[in-house]
Point group: C2
Chain length 349, copies 2
């Protein structure tokens, strides 16, 4: 049976530098060089690890139209190192959606080779030649160095306006950055974006999101209609007590009318048998709730409780911490209606 063949085996393709195509999910109007989420050098006070994570284009997606029956891509990442808890397609691959009947429908992935920094892959082929609106999600967990989109010689390829008008900034940990979705478009911010029809600015920083003052300024500087904060998982109770109030007040003071939605930490599967983790998690969420209770003067503040986020069978994560697509699906069943309601109440949806 035919699979998705390499670009080389089909008709000749013409490649276009994707730097010319519009990007969805951008934090700021100025487009950084390269494919970083924020310009290198901005926010010098951020921890080095956070700056590194912000070089990964999680949540960024190219917006274009084409009538090509084939869509291919050539791309290079900073390296080809592999995390144990993610598929290469998610970590350093590409994920294509095409709009059909008003819905974004999955169309194809760019599969990175084993250990290959540069890849040349067909994302989808054998399509009809109607004009199609495309969203191409970029790698979740690896700096992208170059990207070209290939279409057949007689086809069009045009940048398209951002299909999403309203903007939500979402600050968080590895879970927000997308670990461990199966592919970039399955990260929970990306799914929430397509479901609600809003642009979600992914400010997920794996291993961190510890609410440093510089991170609070970054989040508040993003001009958005609403703010989501999912930053409990990597922050100790002590740091939560020191920093959570400042983060929320910084956003509120800069964005007086925007809803702020706090996502409590998922209950990690590590808590099933590891007694240290079981105690940690209770303390983390309790510390966050204690800080939120102090903010009686902060309006339009919504809290999404932890209890139902991952269900109760312990099967929602790959490693006890990072939700699989199943875990993200369960999270969205809780999060999505609450976010939709907050956006509607504030005239954003």
């Amino acid at each position: 049976m035919p699979g998705v063949a390499r670009a080389q085996s089909g008709p000749p393709l013409v490649f276009t530098d994707a730097a010319r195509l519009p990007l969805v999910g951008r934090a700021f109007p100025e487009r950084p060089s390269g494919w970083h989420r924020i310009a290198p050098g901005s926010y010098p006070d951020l921890p080095a690890a956070v700056k590194e994570r912000l070089t990964n284009p999680a949540g960024l997606a190219l917006s274009f139209t084409t009538n090509s029956p084939i869509i291919a891509a050539r791309w290079c990442t900073a390296d080809a190192k592999q995390n144990p808890n993610m598929a290469p397609i998610a970590q350093r691959g590409l994920d294509l959606y095409i709009r059909r009947g008003g819905t974004w429908l999955w169309a194809g992935v760019g599969r990175p080779g084993d250990g290959t920094v540069c890849n040349d892959e067909t994302l989808v082929l054998n399509m009809d030649d109607s004009e199609k609106e495309c969203l191409l999600y970029l790698p979740l967990y690896k700096e992208l160095r170059s990207l070209e989109i290939g279409v057949t010689a007689r086809s069009s390829l045009k940048g398209a306006a951002n299909p999403f008008r309203k903007r939500v900034a979402l600050y968080g940990s590895s879970i927000v950055q997308g670990a461990s979705a199966s592919r970039p478009g399955m990260a929970y911010p990306a799914r929430l974006s397509r479901h609600l029809g809003v642009d979600i600015i992914n400010l997920g920083v794996s291993g961190s999101a510890r609410m440093e003052p510089a991170a609070a300024r970054l989040v508040a500087d993003v001009d958005a209609d609403a703010y989501m904060l999912d930053c409990v998982p990597n922050t100790s109770p002590e740091l939560i007590a020191q920093r959570a109030g400042n983060l929320i007040r910084t956003v509120r003071s800069r964005r007086p009318h925007a809803p702020i939605i706090i996502v409590m930490s998922i209950i990690r599967g590590l808590t099933h048998f590891n007694r240290v983790w079981a105690e940690n998690m209770v303390r983390q969420n309790a510390a966050m709730l204690a800080e939120i209770k102090k903010l009686t003067d902060v309006e339009r503040l919504t809290v999404i409780p932890a209890d139902e986020l991952l269900g109760h069978d312990g099967e929602a994560t790959v490693d006890g911490t990072h939700p699989s697509d199943l875990g993200f699906d369960r999270m969205l069943r809780v999060i999505e209606p609450i976010v939709a309601s907050a956006l509607k109440q504030n005239g954003i949806l």
Copy 2:
């Protein structure tokens, strides 16, 4: 925050060769040398690629008890090559469950290093010292060369009887072998096994399951209470017409009273825009149904239709073919009640 630390950083551990511990999910009473699913050299007529797949210990799990507060593992695989559509934990890692209150609850994973053939990892730590029943699932997609289980020096480690009494043989493609579960215990045969409390013999052979006469003999030779056949995805309509009747009749003739459950092919996401795939899939499932209709004399034959297996939003796979944990979860919502009913009707459950 502490993660799961390496074995080296905790108390001294004593390692036991896992070849001495009982295995769940075995096809035949004779245990092959190594960690193969069937003995090398048996079924010489099988295609070479199928024989290779049967060296991967998909669906095999160690059964043991321990009161150690730490469980660690040292293991080596044939190589460390990585597929683009699977997490390393699934492809060549380990996945531990512990029974609590009658339910198998996830406890920890063994994470393979990037490119490392041999690994030494703590699966879980900080547990209480009660006696625990453990199931340790082996790598889905890589030949295992050695495996040792580590517990603290003062703890017990004993092989345990197979916790499952009834047996179901499940023959199929990569989807049965477990692509693209996030970890070995999330492959759909493994989840079905835990949910129903039956031993499922995983005869998933990635890229194949084309119902060759030798494969039909292998399936029928497995002494099981029921047989599941999920072997449409890689088989052309022409081969289905040639071979499906023989496969089903071979099983029926060898196992006159066992229920036989046919799983139709999931509708691949590749069909969304790829017109060749859209046509292929319709023809494959139609060919299988046509063969089944001819078998009017075969009793206790159940067919699970394709339509609802993956839902209808196109989000159930990593690459248009292989279900993520979300896709497997959706499949099980359809498959599990039908299998449970067939087993109950035949006095097996």
